[in-house]
């Protein structure tokens, strides 16, 4: 990868900032709303969510909510810090983080919507690739933290 000029770098950073700001806030909005929905399900003791037979759904949806909110915050953190990175952010890191923000929480939510006894539904198959994308994204961001003079 060629090293961008300072002007290019600023434009690039601005693009990533905006992208992850949008994704982060949208994810926070969506998955915090899921949290509110889960609280309502608790308040009204909805058996479809709290019943013993649907224990997997409760777990998966809780995980979906938690991962969604956490990944939203990770996106916001990246937006806030990408200018500070010693090396420019790798474009694949940005894309993979966004895809992971979609696949992981949505995998939990869809997997929890169609549980089969103790097993999650088909949606759970989205979680492993999402996790892989997240790991790659984080690894690339770590790479961008390296000192450019070394």
């Amino acid at each position: 990868m060629t090293t961008p000029t300072p002007i290019d770098r600023a434009a690039l950073d601005r693009r990533y900032e905006l992208r992850h700001l949008r994704v982060g806030w949208v994810a926070l909005l969506a998955f915090a709303a899921v949290g509110v929905l889960l609280e309502l399900l608790h308040a009204f003791k909805v058996p479809w969510y709290l019943g013993v037979a649907t224990e997997s759904r409760r777990l998966l949806w809780t995980l979906g909510h938690a991962h969604g909110v956490a990944l939203g915050l990770v996106n916001l953190a990246l937006a806030a810090t990408c200018r500070l990175l010693p090396r420019p952010l790798h474009p694949t890191a940005s894309t993979m983080l966004v895809v992971a923000t979609l696949l992981i929480p949505c995998g939990f939510l869809v997997g929890g919507a169609f549980v089969h006894g103790g097993d999650p539904g088909l949606g759970a198959i989205l979680i492993p690739p999402g996790a892989l994308f997240l790991l790659v994204a984080v690894a690339l961001i770590v790479g961008s933290c390296r000192d450019p003079n070394r």
Binding site: F44, V110, I125
Partner: protein, 624 residues
């Protein structure tokens, strides 16, 4: 819908990955994502099909859950009552009937082969979470249901008609970690047949919640159903649909928490009047006369309602006046297999009958909940409430006795002789291959022993004493007039007479008491071996089982091997070996009442003489 959502998410992810870029790496990652989703989809679908096939096959054969009558199952209870749910869930009530599965079974099902008397072989195996048996001449059959989970587990095979469940001919006994023929876990004489039971006719009454046998009145084919398999929340608290619906509102729940907590939409047995509270347990723990329609609609009892309206409890004194009088008159063994001759219940699982006959219930406020608790107890401690395991159960009412226990008991305070249960609730009921406490609160009297044959509390602990010794003590302490006794009753220990001449149920109780730690401490154990060895050859397999377990507790017999359902030759050989071991052991002191002569030798001839007087028609079974 599920697939559509998954593929939509995958499509969005691919679009994001590719974006405006068509870089090779992006294409590769997107391709891998699509491929992994497709592979996962295929695997998931295959697994779902297999799971559905297995569930479908079982659904057609197993009594189905039905929600009529306002039952919602325990599934709905945990959200608000997690502690109560957890305490019930760990209890043996929950697992009284379960769908057979590898995750719930205690037996190995690891390729063992069992052989029945009729020559058939049964090869047991697992297939995933399913349990299977290959029966010679019949083929592979899937085990559909299991009952029991405390002492033993029985298994049920789908029958030919409807969803009938037919008894598997072997039972797995936990203590011994072995399979035994079904017949040999009951105290049953050879004269009595033991055809395979049908779960839908017997167990469904009490081993499920709101069981409905649903036998077709014309074809007699069952299409049985239940609100829930196992004895669940609604068996004791009643149907909960109204309660669940009302308490979906958080405002109502807050109001209840802030108020007295009493919710009229559900029954709490602890808040019922004493008679109604005990009837909740009595619906199953009593000898009942179900209405004629029960094989179609089941028992219609609801907690809080009078039990007599849906199921009459049969007390021996009123058997002839009961709705079942005709059936009882036609079955000469009905009363003897359930009651001692004075009407006291003698089989386990029927404690409500015993409570009804108890003065503490008749003249006081004693209920099942005076001692037991479903939620604040240890399931392995007979569900005795945490603060009622001991004299506290009795002294909550009999507080004056608690001031000076030994003045009442004439035994040292804190000793087993000063434990209320041991004198007033002795081990005179039988079930599950052991003696259990009578739940009829009574006073020990030699007269009762003479009239019924039932061992009295004193001689179940003082196994080495005669009836005359007991009668003298009761006269001295309680002014009970001594009964007239035969020469043998005056000179031979009561337990010895029970082993020699008692009927099978009495022999079982005596053999169990010989293994009871309190009795051994009181009576010594060095003299017991020859009697227990004698019972290794008892004609009742249940008596042999108990005798063997008691014998193993005696020094020198800890490693003694014996198969209580083995061949007669093998049992004789084991008995000979046991006698040889006893002859090598240190001889007990001379005691005429225990048939030990002056030189410490055992007078076996005298025991045989006494045994020769055992009644010829000693055929019985106990309907536990």
């Amino acid at each position: 819908m599920e697939s559509l959502l998954v593929w939509t998410l995958t499509g969005v992810a691919v679009a994001l990955l590719l974006g405006r870029s068509r870089a090779r790496a992006s294409l590769l990652v997107a391709t891998v994502l699509v491929a992994s989703t497709a592979a996962g989809h295929a695997l998931w679908a295959a697994r779902a099909r297999s799971r559905e096939r297995s569930a479908e096959a079982l659904r057609a054969r197993v009594p189905q859950p039905v929600g009529d009558g306002g039952y919602v199952t325990s599934n709905a209870c945990r959200a608000c009552h997690p502690t109560e749910y957890a305490t019930w869930h760990r209890s043996y009530h929950r697992s009284m009937t379960q769908v057979a599965s590898a995750s719930a079974v205690r037996a190995p099902f690891a390729g063992e082969t069992l052989r029945s008397d009729d020559g058939k072989s049964y090869h047991l195996r697992r297939d995933g979470d399913e349990l299977w048996v290959d029966i010679s001449g019949v083929g592979a059959r899937r085990i559909a249901m299991m009952t029991g989970s405390h002492h033993m587990q029985a298994f049920w095979l789908p029958g030919e008609r409807g969803n009938a469940q037919i008894e598997f001919p072997f039972t797995y006994v936990f203590d011994d970690r072995r399979w035994v023929p079904r017949r040999d876990v009951f105290l049953v004489g050879r004269e009595y047949g033991k055809d395979p039971s049908m779960w839908n006719r017997i167990c469904i009454e009490c081993h499920v919640t709101r069981g409905q046998p649903r036998f077709d009145a014309r074809t007699d084919v069952p299409a049985s159903a239940a609100a829930e398999l196992g004895i669940a929340c609604e068996a004791c608290h009643g149907p909960a649909a109204q309660h669940v619906a009302a308490n979906a509102s958080p405002f109502r729940r807050v109001a209840l928490h802030d108020g007295d907590g009493i919710d009229a939409t559900i029954v709490n047995p602890a808040r019922l009047p004493p008679a109604r509270a005990s009837e909740v347990c009595g619906q199953c723990h009593g000898i009942g006369c179900p209405p004629e329609s029960w094989l179609q609609s089941g028992i219609r009892f609801r907690p809080g309602q009078p039990l007599a309206e849906s199921k009459q409890i049969l007390r021996q004194a009123t058997l002839q006046k009961s709705a079942c009088a005709r059936q009882i008159a036609a079955d000469a063994s009905f009363a003897p297999s359930r009651y001692w001759s004075d009407g006291m219940v003698r089989v386990s699982g029927r404690e409500y009958n015993a409570l009804l006959e108890s003065p503490c219930h008749q003249h006081g406020a004693m209920t099942c909940l005076s001692c037991h608790s479903m939620h604040a107890s240890d399931p392995d401690g007979w569900q005795l409430a945490h603060d009622r395991d001991g004299n506290a159960a009795c002294t909550q009412c009999h507080s004056a006795i608690a001031q000076n226990v030994s003045a009442h008991t004439h035994h040292a305070a804190g000793s087993t002789g000063s434990t209320c249960y041991n004198c007033h609730m002795p081990h005179t009921t039988y079930g599950l291959l052991r003696a259990m406490r009578s739940h009829q609160v009574s006073v020990p009297r030699v007269q009762d022993t003479l009239a019924t044959g039932r061992p009295n509390a004193c001689n179940l602990c003082h196994l080495d004493r005669t009836l005359a010794w007991t009668a003298a003590a009761l006269e001295r302490w309680w002014k009970l007039p001594p009964p007239s006794l035969t020469a043998e009753q005056r000179t031979v220990a009561a337990s010895v007479l029970d082993v020699a001449r008692g009927e099978a149920g009495v022999r079982a109780l005596t053999a169990w008491s010989m293994g009871w730690s309190a009795a051994r401490k009181t009576s010594g154990a060095d003299w017991m071996a020859p009697y227990l060895i004698e019972l290794l050859d008892d004609e009742y397999s249940a008596v042999r089982y108990i005798a063997y377990h008691s014998l193993r507790g005696i020094s020198g017999f800890e490693d003694f091997a014996y198969d209580y359902v083995g061949t007669e030759e093998a049992r004789f050989a084991a008995q000979r070996e046991a006698l040889a071991r006893f002859s090598r052991a240190r001889r007990p002191a001379a005691r005429a009442e225990l048939l030990f002569e002056a030189d410490g030798r055992f007078a076996r001839g005298e025991l045989e003489r006494l045994m020769a007087e055992r009644r010829e028609d000693d055929e019985m079974f106990l309907a536990e």
